[in-house]
Amino acid sequence: MLTYTLRRLLMSIPTLLFIAFVIFMLLELAPGDPMAQMPLTIPPEVKQQMREALGLGEPWYIRFPLWLNQFFIVEPQYWIDNAFGTNFADGAQRIISFQSRSPVFDVIAERLPQTLWVVAMSYVVGVLIALPIGIISAYRQYSVFDQAGTFVSMIGFSVPPFFSGVLLIVIFSVQLKWLPSIYDTTHVVNDWQSFKFQLQQMIMPVMVLALQTTAQVSRYMRASMLDNLGQDYVRTARAKGMSESVVVMKHVLRNSMIPVVTVIALGIPSIFGGAIITEQIFKVNGLGQLLIIALQGSDIPMVMTITFLLAVLIVMMNLIADVLYGILDPRIRYD
């Protein structure tokens, strides 16, 4: 298992390098010019100097390794310096945003908590709702509950977040005036009242994202439970006289969770993608919104870094899913 994990980790390095190269070349080939917004009166030689100041003077085969160096060596050095007060980085050039002229990772660190709160919360809520629905749907297959569960998950698959979010705002903020439509990220929780407000403003974005997760995970849970409920070991357990709750919740559930856990791990990157849209609807100033702003301003280093971080997340989650599958299911042998 350990050798498998190590092999996969080593394999993910060329994958990530290739992905970084694809993203870099896409941004490089694209005709979008960060200088396009500048006044036309600036003389060409000054413009050239400005491009060089942005680090755009060199050809791509010099800038790509430079970017890799900054991302994988310089930035971690700064982290270590910040954490332990050392001086590894020694004033080396960090990745700088074209728009704000501040280090990209500082901006990302500012935005990350908001996104993580909403995304992590919605994922946990979505999974917690999905698991019981899947279990009951499978246990009572073709019952009214199962039909309703199927319908709800169909809706979760079909209604895009930009409509469900807007619909929730129309109903709960505009008509009923129960919940705020804009997520206030400066809000500080220090007493019961402010905690209640925090809950109120989180409900809608979390539910919009959770609906997607619930739809997907509950389907997998149901299918996996159905696979296991028909197995011989379930009949054996019942024949031994075990109570129905032990049979379902211990024997069947444990075995059914194996594929579902990997699905849950694999779904994490896609929910970050969903956050791009949700943050736009509820005006959360998180990573997704940062990406959109950076895109509109041709802020190439920012776009490159955020997109690459998402790619790292996808690759890592794939790895974790595969390793988890091997750990949880003793029938799987990778070596």
């Binding site: 994958t15 992905i19 941004l27 694209a30 005709p31 409509f163 807007v166 849209i277 895109l295 041709s298």
Partner: protein, 316 residues
């Protein structure tokens, strides 16, 4: 008696298998509803503009902000008008005409992108499954593409290639080509994986061996023996692809990176109406409902097709 019935059966023509598929499909209520709705919405957007002869781009500022006709029931003071049954927007454009025109573009993008994605997926899947030498390379490539963050990359592509394509093909066609290609080349991977797996399994079957033994060339082997047998998974993933393509196009429009605002699509109408949804919630609900119901219908059709095309379930 027995003789008669036997001979009757004997002369009865062999039934085309697609009739069996259709019979099974009909038993799935959701799928039939879905198909009905898809046909309805297709007719609505294709024939609708011929009957409802209003120019969707025509401004009529005197007639702006008309509420939909049912608002007259709740609120006698509401500004309603039979000439605009779904109301008008803030520039006095008729919303029903806009929904029809937007649906045309949304559905056209969805279908074209889906066909492109299915074509690419089938091509890569068949090549990887049939030719062992290509398998490793193509599947590594598929895995790599699957590891790309697709929505951000799609956004980057939209933003960066918009202007050159607009200059080359005109504003509407340029964006259409860009969106269709973008969605097509970012959503073929699932189809490729499914097709590859099925082709690999089929390749070991006796009929393929028999066909090879009489010297069938690879090209005919694929078109004549393999493709018809992988048609059902391709059709199922095609329906899923149509649903995702429609959603992705609307999401791009919603993020402001799709069609320019004088070319309405459902996502674009929704995006443009969000600012005024407090006063006019119906303007976001019409396009949103159109997207959601169409995608729901397509998903149900996919569900029904999966059951109908599976010979193990069929006939039970």
């Amino acid at each position: 008696m027995t003789d008669v019935s036997l001979s009757k059966e004997a002369i009865e023509k062999p039934r085309n298998q697609w009739w069996d598929v259709w019979d099974q499909f009909k038993t799935h209520k959701g799928a039939v509803f879905g198909l009905g709705f898809l046909i309805f919405i297709t007719l609505f957007v294709s024939i609708g503009p011929l009957l409802w002869d209003v120019d969707p781009g025509k401004l009529n500022i005197r007639n702006k902000d008309v509420r939909p006709i049912y608002m007259g029931l709740f609120d006698s003071g509401a500004k309603v008008n039979w000439a605009n049954p779904m109301g008008t927007d803030n520039l006095g454009r008729d919303i029903m005409a806009n929904i029809m025109q937007g649906g045309r573009i949304s559905l056209a993008v969805g279908w074209t992108a889906m066909i492109l994605a299915v074509f690419l997926g089938t091509l890569i899947g068949v090549l990887a499954g049939y030719f062992r030498r290509l398998d490793g390379l193509l599947m590594r490539f598929t895995d790599l593409v699957l590891a790309l963050p697709l929505l951000p990359l799609l956004l980057v592509m939209m933003l960066l290639f918009r202007d050159p394509l607009r200059a080359a093909f005109g504003p509407e066609n340029g964006i259409f080509i860009l969106i269709v290609t973008g969605i097509g080349i970012t959503s073929w991977m699932q189809t490729a994986r499914i097709v590859r797996g099925d082709v690999m399994a089929l390749k070991e079957r006796e009929f393929v061996l028999a066909a090879r033994s009489i010297g069938t060339p690879a090209r005919r082997m694929i078109t004549r023996h393999l493709l018809p047998n992988v048609l059902s998974p391709i059709m199922v993933s095609a329906t899923l692809g149509l649903a995702t393509a429609i959603i992705t196009e609307s999401a791009l429009s919603f993020l402001g990176l799709g069609f320019p605002s004088d070319f309405p699509t459902w996502g674009k109408i929704l995006f443009d109406s969000v600012d005024r949804m407090t006063a006019f919630p119906e303007r976001v609900i019409w396009p949103g409902l159109a997207i959601s119901l169409t995608v729901l219908a397509v998903n149900y059709i996919g569900d029904g097709l999966r059951d109908a095309l599976d010979p193990r379930i069929r006939g039970h």
